[in-house]
Subunit: 589 residues, 2 copies
């Protein structure tokens, strides 16, 4: 009887408090879930390092070279995590003392995930490493490559002031400061729009969204004013803009209806896109699915719509091909159209004669052009891939081993791998032409008369490769690229001494010997576009497209596994669980 | 063999990633733990209400009376949670749309608990209730009791403006706006000090603490400047100040040593207390333990130290009995000395002729003196306990049933319970005198000649009770008092109609009939003072004192159980677990 009444009470508790049952279900499976979400080799610290450090300590330690790293975004963090060569003394300089897992920023705007959960303090990373790393919270304001110095400004306001500006010496400088929003000189954007680049942008948006609903719930407004306040405009139909619109729609349909029932009908979400489609970097199937879903959800997608200006009350747009612009009142605007260089990078580009560029140009080894000891990676840099046509004579000379002045297919075949490594566009060109064999490519240039034993002179060789360079593409400004670049550079630094002695890169075509390292090669792992309602579009390598709830689960597991630490992983996963059980937090803090 | 290698890898994973093993241990026990932490009946929503609402709906529903509640602190939240009478239409007005679990504010300052975890949005509470409740995010700026109106100012900044000020009508007004910090007119406090009353105060302190350590780690400072920046001063040795000092010390000794190893030796914590002891509202055993522990921890406790002024760089103090004041440079000051009335309350007190008071005076039923339909509770109010001596003639008359002009012990005994309910100081006085029987008290007044059958005249009766009123004490301004007052008032409102018909309170001494309700009686449940290092001092009813690690566990379980919702309970507990596994977050966001 006692047992019975205990179970009776227990089961009643479940009925009375539905959250309770959810908590128990979730906490029961969470132990296993956390592990399943995680890739086993994501952690770079641990015993390996310590053993390594011990081994080095017993050798004679040469004077450590000073590496200065600017910025701890994806590129900088990835470099720090992968670096394990104790022969360097690393000084990190960044005005922000934490790394942000940027792909989850849109999730922060409406409370699906907490700001703190997607942030990892740089000192947490540093204190686990056996490499000598220190950190200064400051902003680099000038790079002086001649004297191998950078100048930093102290940005922390306390009641005790030190010197305002201080200098830091370097042997190697790694520039990974990222980019800033690009307003395309549209008037009023800085004054009236929200952005979504940093954690505090996301926090401000969240506060603003909640405050808009609170304001609209007040008795001192007309219905017209309520509609204005609850008109949310997103400018830019890229992944960020689309995800924010989807998050906001989910928030309205899942939480606002319960929390702000009186004002839910005044909400309107508008998405403005200047080109013909949203998500235009994705496959067409994804684009049209997304446009269809947003249509059904009541999100007003306006394609071909250019923003001409934003005042504090209205946003002016112009439809493509129409010279008149129309103005619409709004409550909040998110501007997410693209990126431009930061002032430091603009200034540095001017200094080194790259003044007209949109990002710092580097070679394929991520070195800033013209400097052997300055690297640039992530959104602040682009790789200036060397053109085949510029080096065509040298390639011909290197390939023509018998110095006959003509090239046989066999001779070219022998150096083809080296050429493809140094000039990846050759391989892309062959793929795009669906040419399997280099002989076919050369034959085509030679014309119908070509035979197996043909020989090409320099002019014919040029003709064969003349369109190769059209295949060169800039890498997208994504977290994935920056992450891979950081890891690549760390590996180079880890093996610096070894590769000085035994270079492992491709042979130099314009000189003797080989390059120290293999050039950086980007490996595209796929891309997600969350569309709301627990549906995500995924475009994976090999033209594989998946849309729907299953991709959402893929999204959850990939984003959980890609977290930089066990700490943020646990926090992000528990935020998802919390939202599933309790809904979003509407406190506006 | 395969199995073996799986387990081998698994156990290696545990050794390599100590956090992983902690996560698994914690998630395994968390399911049970959460339930154990929680008292079963803490949730007020659920089936009971719905059944009640159904029953009422089938009767004829009278026009709902409008209740306006100002503030959602402990008192307001407790009122809302306990109210379940659907005959009221409640309008909540507060400039802050969430409740804060204030006892955990010191935990937020150094990242033991997240700000969001101790906050419950008022709309989450409202949407679960079956009572008609709405909320406006606005600040009440004026109370107009004659016209039964309050005036509110819209405090939300958006790009669309409505009317600045709007009025709200009420039938009943409940004032629970809390208090603000009291600077005792010390110059420079508002400009240079931190406070710890609100969630954003705690967030600011947290940011400031982290930024101080970042600043001190920069290369552009002298050691002298580093010492200044890392000198943390706490003014006020009450529970808040003491707990903050303890949290800060824990943060330094547990996390700073790892994260900021270069600056850890520059840290200094000073605690200034104007009286002779810290925690002087606690038992002496606790006070001396706390002072001893702080001494061992290296926290500089300065007793009898008055702050005379604070500039942006230095804090000036004066030792008791010494006329000279000394100045010390500081990096950060927390001011936590006491509370004073908010401007709204000051203004209202002037209006109703209570201008000289420090808080709104109410009667024992929490009604503002002179108003039948305005209630005040929590930190903005004090109960003006009616004195026995003021009513002594009426009490005598009521007791003297045979109108003989004298009172027998038996006669007084008959109304003693009613007297004690109306004038609780009588009971306290008897306890303090260790008098068990009222006869003894009366005998004492009568002198040695007293007998069992004695009779007292009015003068002798006065003499017997003359010192009773010295036992009157104001209730402390704590969360516990406010919480009980809110619950009490909700119960009154829940039974309003019933008690109008059948009053349940004590008989009126100065008039006929009975009071509608029992007067409010505070039940002290004990008090905690966390002292850092997982040690807490607990003072429980019945003079029971406990200090140490076991009290810390009591603290954890009490604070987890007292959370206002399952959501915050889960969040707070998971924050504690997170800190245990991963340490504090040093990102400063």
């Amino acid at each position: 009887m006692r047992n019975f009444s205990f179970f009776g009470r227990f089961s009643r508790a479940f009925q009375d408090y539905p959250s309770l049952s959810k908590i128990i279900v979730v906490s029961t499976i969470s132990g296993g879930g956390l592990i399943a979400y995680t890739e086993a080799n994501s952690y770079n610290g641990g015993r390996g390092h310590i053993a390594h450090a011990d081994a080095v300590a017993s050798e004679v330690v040469p004077k450590k070279k000073k590496v200065v790293l600017l910025g701890i975004g994806w590129a900088g963090m990835s470099f720090l995590k992968n670096l394990n060569n104790p022969n360097y003394e690393v000084q990190v300089v960044s005005p922000r003392n934490f790394f942000v897992f940027t792909p989850l920023l849109p999730s922060v705007t409406c409370g699906k995930v907490e700001a703190r959960s997607i942030v990892e303090p740089v000192r947490n990373i540093i204190c686990k490493k056996s490499v000598d790393i220190s950190y200064s919270e400051a902003e680099c304001i000038k790079i002086d490559p001649e004297n191998k110095k950078i100048y930093c400004r102290d940005v922390i306001n306390t009641n005790v002031k030190g010197e305002d500006v201080f200098a830091v010496d370097y042997d190697y400088l790694i520039v990974a400061v990222g980019a800033q929003v690009n307003t395309f000189n549209t008037p009023g954007v800085y004054e009236n729009c929200h952005f979504l680049k940093e954690v505090d942008d996301a926090q401000k948006i969240r506060k603003n969204v909640i405050q808009s609903f609170e304001k609209a719930s007040l008795p001192n407004l007309t219905d017209e004013e309520r509609k204005k306040i609850l008109h949310f405009v997103v400018v830019g139909g890229g992944p960020t803009g689309v995800e924010f619109a989807a998050e906001l729609h989910d928030f309205v349909s899942e939480d606002v209806v319960k929390l702000y029932p009186k004002v839910k009908d005044y909400v309107k979400i508008t998405l403005l896109e200047a080109t013909d489609h949203i998500l235009n970097m994705f496959d067409k199937r994804i684009t049209s699915f997304a446009e269809g879903k947003f249509g059904r959800d009541g999100i007003d997608v306006k394609l071909g719509s250019m923003v001409t200006g934003i005042s504090d009350k209205e946003i002016s747009t112009k439809v493509k091909g129409d010279s008149n612009s129309t103005s619409t009142p709004y409550g909040m605007v998110l501007w997410s159209t693209g990126i431009g260089p930061r002032p430091l990078i603009k200034e540095f580009m001017k200094q080194i004669g790259q003044g007209n560029r949109r990002a710092l140009a580097t070679d394929e080894w991520l070195r800033v052009e013209g400097f052997n000891n300055i690297y640039a990676l992530g959104d602040c840099a682009t790789i200036n891939q060397r053109k085949v046509m510029e080096d065509i004579a040298d390639i011909f000379k290197k390939a023509d081993k018998d110095k006959s002045g003509t090239l046989t297919v066999k001779e070219f075949q022998e150096i083809l791998n080296d050429v493809c490594e140094r000039y990846p566009q050759v391989e892309l060109y062959m793929k795009s032409k669906q040419v399997r064999n280099i002989a076919d490519l050369l034959k085509e240039a030679k014309g119908d008369s070509a035979k197996e034993s043909m020989e090409l002179n320099i002019e014919e060789f040029k003709k064969a490769l003349t369109e190769v360079d059209t295949q060169m593409k800039n890498l997208p400004a994504t977290a994935q690229v920056a992450n891979q670049q950081g890891a690549y550079l760390a590996k180079c630094f880890n093996r610096m001494e070894e590769c000085e002695r035994n270079p492992e890169g491709p042979p130099r075509f314009r000189a003797e010997g080989r390059h120290r390292f293999h050039p950086f090669r980007y490996r595209h792992l796929g891309q997600f576009a969350p569309l709301g309602g627990e549906q995500t579009a995924a475009q994976l390598p090999g033209d594989w497209v998946s849309i729907g709830h299953s991709s959402q689960w893929l999204w959850y597991s990939v984003y959980a596994s890609k977290q930089v630490s066990w700490r943020t992983r646990a926090l992000v996963v528990s935020d998802w669980i919390r939202r599933f059980i309790f809904g979003r937090d509407a406190s506006g803090i």
